[in-house]
């Protein structure tokens, strides 16, 4: 019998659904920061090896995204922002996502190790472990500090890129890590402020749920202030220079000003204008990271031509 009308077509996944499982938007951040980490490193890498390395770092990031979606399918079903993801929407089965995630994790770590060095491969494996086991399975559902500690997973890519070139960890790569690590909490807390009930409905102990929105606004300001010294430290490091310093000063002033503005608002004001300041801060936080790492890239290009740097 070949009566196709009896089949539920909504459950048949297309190629794009598998791509969506790898969280391509998160991947873009991973690709960019890892690429910068690799390019600014003092050891030159063959362009094809560099391309391969970035590709497998991205694939590793995608694999951890698939494993995250497998484990968090129950939460994703509840939250408005995530209920159209392939698993909650019923297009891909949980087991399939788990299999894909594990297979891609293995391929990406082994291939990165073979293409560059064992330190980089092992570092990628640790990053996937940290994101999936430490953040997704453990911290996310148990502590309001989930974003703070879990943010480390997103901060590792520039260190992996640096390790691809040098095979080591150094002060410069640690400063790049620190920049993303300290940036993550205000970035996600501003999202939590205007994604109102999503996290509470899903039972995720975000700071907005456990400590209230007033405390979240205070935390955002504290973290943006603590972030600034790391940004300036990176600008004054051997991979920094006048361009990075100028970017760091301007971006951090803008970030702190945005956080002060958020702190000065109460819920009534925010609701009245549709969380305009919180949304603007969230968008600025994305630009903050891209421009900061973009400045590092510009500085490295200038240095290659005998300009830039200290």
């Amino acid at each position: 019998m070949s009566d196709l009308s009896a089949i539920d077509h909504g459950h048949e996944a297309g190629f794009g659904d598998y791509v969506q499982l790898l969280k391509p938007r998160v991947m873009s951040l991973v690709v960019f920061t890892a690429m910068v980490g690799l390019i600014v490193a003092p050891v030159p890498v063959h362009p094809f090896v560099a391309f391969t390395a970035i590709l497998f770092i991205a694939l590793g990031g995608g694999a951890s995204g698939a494993l995250n979606m497998w484990y968090d399918a129950d939460i994703d079903r509840v939250m408005r922002r995530t209920r159209n993801r392939p698993i909650p929407a019923g297009r891909i089965g949980g087991g399939e996502a788990l299999g894909l995630g594990i297979a891609l994790s293995g391929i990406s770590c082994i291939m990165l190790g073979l293409a560059t060095n064992l330190v980089a491969g092992a570092f990628l494996a640790f990053t996937i472990f940290f994101y999936v086991v430490v953040y997704t399975m453990w911290l996310k559902r148990s502590t309001p500090q989930n974003i703070v500690i879990g943010g480390a997973a997103g901060a590792f890519p520039p260190m992996i890129g640096w390790a691809c070139a040098t095979g080591t960890v150094s002060v410069e790569s640690l400063l790049m890590f620190a920049l993303i690590f300290m940036w993550t909490p205000p970035h996600f807390w501003s999202l939590a402020l205007f994604m109102k009930d999503d996290y509470s409905k899903a039972g995720v102990p975000m700071l907005t749920v456990t400590h209230g929105r007033r405390a979240t606004r205070r935390h955002i300001l504290v973290y943006t202030i603590l972030l600034a010294p790391f940004a300036l430290g990176l600008a004054l490091s051997p991979i920094g220079g006048p361009v990075v310093l100028a970017a760091a000063v301007l971006l951090n002033l803008g970030f702190i000003a945005g956080a002060v503005r958020i702190l000065g608002r109460d819920e009534a004001t925010a609701e009245a204008d549709g969380y305009r300041a919180e949304k603007a801060f969230f968008r600025f936080s994305l630009a903050y990271l891209f421009l900061h790492f973009g400045a590092l890239l510009v500085e490295a290009s200038l240095r290659a031509h005998g300009l830039g740097g200290w």
Partner: protein, 57 residues
């Protein structure tokens, strides 16, 4: 009996198969390219050119 009528389901499956095919071809090309780069940019001991610690140095 062969299915005569094309269905949206077939398009989706074909898209998936082509997608996977391109990914596999890309992977083979990548490994090939990487091999060429590694072989042509390393000496017999796997060191980048000019960095080996052999007797001649």
């Amino acid at each position: 009996m062969a299915i005569a009528r094309e269905h949206e389901l077939h398009h989706r499956r074909r898209g998936r198969n082509f997608g996977l095919g391109f990914v596999l071809i890309g992977f083979v090309a990548l490994v090939f390219g990487l091999t060429i780069v590694k072989v042509s940019h390393q000496d017999a001991h796997g060191n980048p050119p000019g960095t080996s610690q052999g007797a001649g140095n």
